[in-house]
């Protein structure tokens, strides 16, 4: 399976294994959430302790699920948009194999305590090297596909995807350069340059690129404005990368660096507004299509969450609001609305659309897919609300002078709500995994293709 040269086989392998890692990553996350409500449940087993589960959860969903799903989608979208074949499915398939080993080995390392201790860069050195080699090979494949293309004009999705494959290997290299020893605060500055740009120059650019592909494709309407989409791309390219220091805004790092981070964070409103204007203007007059188009529903729900996360972001980065919200659970909610609410939902929509076209087979059950949507959506709303409100409550207590460890008791209802929301999402995604497995196995679909044309392969 990992050594085939078939068309789209790499895309298929990436997407299917990503869904496995999604469920495993969510199981880890759910375990962590339950441990907050019953801290003695880990009962002295090191591998089950929350503080070891958390990096494993973050890295598994970020690198195992989101990165792999994004790559799988890119490997389908790039050849489609350039009307050429992928430069080499063999290389991409090999990277997929390596990447799976990376996630498995990396997860085991983190759970067993072999961690570098820098957030988002926890994987030990050998695994970093493997990730970097994988990223560079994929960049090579994607760029070679773009160079040998037959369509002259580059659609905006391609701009985003090619950009991401240029930025990410660099960002990853800088973030994991363990051979350069830096003093404490400098280490923190570089850590957060990386920690923020893995979101900004990788997940955001790929996610937005995917949404730019999916919305016109699913609605059958052309993109509202090409020039606006270009404005969005260039503003992301200029404004996103210098903002990392806003994660340590009140630590004693240089003031000019903080000012730079705040100014560029606020400027990020521009790309967000342009991107969302473009999405919603493309939808103008097409909202009725949501009724029988589940992938579109996923992508647009993602777009709504994108609005939330990207309005929160620039404000949170200002000093006066950071003053109140930093260190609270609000930030946990914010991080999840970006990675889970937005980019994961984009990927769900894209997978439901792409999988039937790669496999030339209809999705096994539309009912399961709808259940997946509602469980994930409602679960996520509960999760997001509990973390956001909990964060405000936390901060209110701290600023009334109540010590952190005492005020933590007030958070119990929010921990419980979070675990409930997490369980709903986890359950929805187990259904998703079942649906994908049945589709891949080629079980006879339960529904007629007219019901959800987007989730059935195109005729002819």
């Amino acid at each position: 399976m990992f050594f085939s040269d078939e068309e789209n086989s790499a895309s298929k392998n990436f997407i299917i294994t990503a869904v496995f890692w999604l469920v495993i990553g969510m199981t880890l996350g759910l375990t962590g959430a339950i441990e907050f409500t019953a801290p003695d449940i880990s009962s002295g087993i090191p591998q089950l302790t929350f503080s070891r589960i958390r990096p494993a959860h973050v890295n598994t969903v970020a690198f195992g699920w989101l990165s792999m799903a994004n790559i799988g989608i890119v490997l389908y979208v790039v050849p489609t948009l350039t009307k050429s074949k992928l430069f080499s499915n063999k290389i991409a398939n090999f990277v997929c194999l390596v990447w799976n080993i990376v996630i498995l080995a990396g997860g085991l390392c983190l759970v067993n305590g072999y961690s570098e201790g820098r957030e988002y860069a926890e994987y030990p050195v050998p695994i970093d090297v493997m990730v970097l080699i994988g990223l560079l090979s994929l960049s090579f494949v994607v760029y070679m596909t773009a160079i040998t293309r037959t369509v002259k004009k580059l659609y905006v999705s391609l701009w985003y995807m090619l950009g991401a494959f240029f930025w990410m290997p660099l960002v990853y290299f800088i973030g994991n350069r363990t051979f350069v020893r830096l003093d404490g605060l400098n280490d923190g500055i570089v850590n957060w340059f990386y920690g923020h740009n893995i979101l900004g120059m990788w997940f955001t650019t790929l996610g937005v690129g995917i949404a730019y592909y999916m919305i016109p494709k699913l609605t059958g309407r052309p993109l509202w404005s090409h020039s606006l989409s270009m404005l969005g791309f260039w503003t992301i390219a200029f404004f996103y990368a210098p903002t990392g220091t806003h994660h340590i805004l009140q630590s004693p790092v240089p003031e000019w660096l903080k000012a730079l981070a705040v100014v560029f964070s606020v400027a990020l409103v521009i790309p967000v507004i342009t991107v969302l204007t473009n999405f919603f203007m493309t939808m103008k007059g097409n909202w009725w299509q949501l009724a029988n188009n589940l992938p579109l529903r996923f992508v647009l729900t993602g777009a709504l969450f994108y609005f939330i996360t990207c309005i929160q972001g620039p404000f949170q980065a200002t000093r006066s609001i950071n003053w109140y919200l930093h260190f609270t659970q609000w930030v946990v909610g914010h991080a999840h609305v970006a990675l889970l609410g937005t980019f994961t939902f984009f990927d769900f929509g894209a997978i439901y659309y792409i999988l039937p076209r790669i496999l030339k087979r209809q999705i096994y059950s539309f009912g399961l897919a709808r259940a997946h949507y509602w469980f994930t959506f409602i679960g996520f709303l509960i999760f997001f609300a509990s973390m956001t409100i909990g964060g405000l409550v936390q901060s209110a207590g701290w600023h009334a002078g109540i010590p952190v460890n005492i005020w933590g008791i007030e958070m119990v209802p929010y921990w419980i709500l979070r675990a409930i929301g997490g369980f709903l999402m986890w359950f929805g995604n187990v259904l998703f995994l079942l649906n994908v497995i049945q589709t891949v196995r080629g079980v006879k679909p339960l529904d007629s293709p007219e019901e959800e044309p987007a989730m059935a392969p195109a005729k002819g």
């Binding site: 072999y114 400098n186 280490d187 500055i189 210098p242 630590s251």
Partner: protein, 318 residues
């Protein structure tokens, strides 16, 4: 390759190298703080403890920098404090307290019991038990935690009162550490202070409800840092901007010293120090006390009662 894409590619390349230069290379070139008085050069045990701290992922709940608006976490950190901290353990969330000045706050035995089962020392904590750590690992971790902030919270003379206030000590005749003085102070407190500060000094006296700037709750850790002169100065001069009067005009100096003696005996809220913890054998801490986590958790701290509904006047003010 189509020549139309040379310009965008160049712009992309240039802009990103500019960003890397300004936010990665430049800070490392020009930002080189000299080690401060409180930068800890870790000895082998502490370094080992730091590795365990990193391995166990303590950083995911405990931050290590104090912000200007934080209370209870001790003096503000400076850039020079972090020179030897590689990899950085700044942290981004405070599910648990900040640890920048943890060194010296609690005795070693407290930490050992805390790692074994956090709920024996801090009821209601959500910290996972680290009972699987080996003995030498616990020793190292305790050494590291005690090195944080170089015990400046203890060494640093936190001066809240004006310097000239120190001379009141010369003519002091009351032994503020004696229980006789504290008992004398109790009466004075109930007569003069309890209407606002409450009979237990929790800031919830009957008058508290009518005061917009709430009276202080003396069980807050903040007040545990007060020294005798600071207490005396606060009582004597009152607190500007609040209804706290200048007791120097109403009480004699001797009476005020009695009050200081009483105020020093008020317990710190919800910190559970099992009886005589200093004399305990740290190895047998848990067995000797036999306090189950469930038992402790069932005794809800006073805080909960205070914070439900509109506060009956439990203020956070100092």
């Amino acid at each position: 390759m189509n020549k139309n894409y040379i310009l965008p590619a160049t712009v992309l390349l240039l802009s990103f190298s500019m960003i890397i230069f300004s936010t990665v290379l430049l800070p490392n070139m020009i930002f080189k703080p000299a080690p401060s008085e409180f930068a800890v050069k870790y000895n082998p045990t502490e370094a080992k403890g730091r590795n365990i701290y990193r391995r166990e992922g303590c950083v995911y709940c405990h931050s290590q920098f104090v912000r200007p608006q934080d209370r209870d976490f001790g003096p503000l950190v400076m850039a020079g404090d972090y020179v030897y901290d590689t990899p950085n353990l700044l942290g981004t969330i405070r599910t648990g307290p900040d640890l920048s000045n943890e060194g010296g706050k609690h005795p070693d035995a407290w930490h050992k019991a805390h790692f074994k089962n956090p709920r024996t020392t801090t009821p209601g904590s959500v910290m996972p038990p680290f009972s699987y750590l080996k003995d030498d690992e616990v020793e190292a971790l305790v050494a590291y935690v005690q090195s944080l902030g170089k015990k400046r919270i203890v060494k640093y003379q936190r001066i809240y009162h004006p310097d000239e206030m120190e001379k009141v000590l010369d003519k002091r005749k009351v032994n503020v550490d004696s229980s006789a003085a504290a008992n004398a102070g109790r009466g004075i407190f109930q007569q003069n202070c309890a209407t606002c500060h409450g009979t237990h000094g929790l800031g919830n006296g009957p008058n508290a409800i009518a005061i917009s700037k709430k009276p202080a709750n003396f069980s807050r850790p903040f007040f545990k840092d007060y020294d005798d002169v600071t207490w005396f100065w606060r009582i004597t001069e009152g607190v500007p901007g609040t209804r706290m009067p200048q007791w120097g005009k109403l009480l004699t100096e001797e009476q005020r010293w009695y009050l200081v003696a009483f105020l020093k005996t008020l317990p710190r809220e919800t910190e559970v120090y099992p009886k005589g913890y200093e004399s305990l054998d740290p190895e047998k801490w848990v067995e000797q006390n036999m306090i189950s986590a469930a038992e402790l958790n069932s005794a809800k701290p006073a805080m909960i009662i205070e914070t439900k509904g509109p506060p009956p006047g439990a203020g956070g003010g100092h």
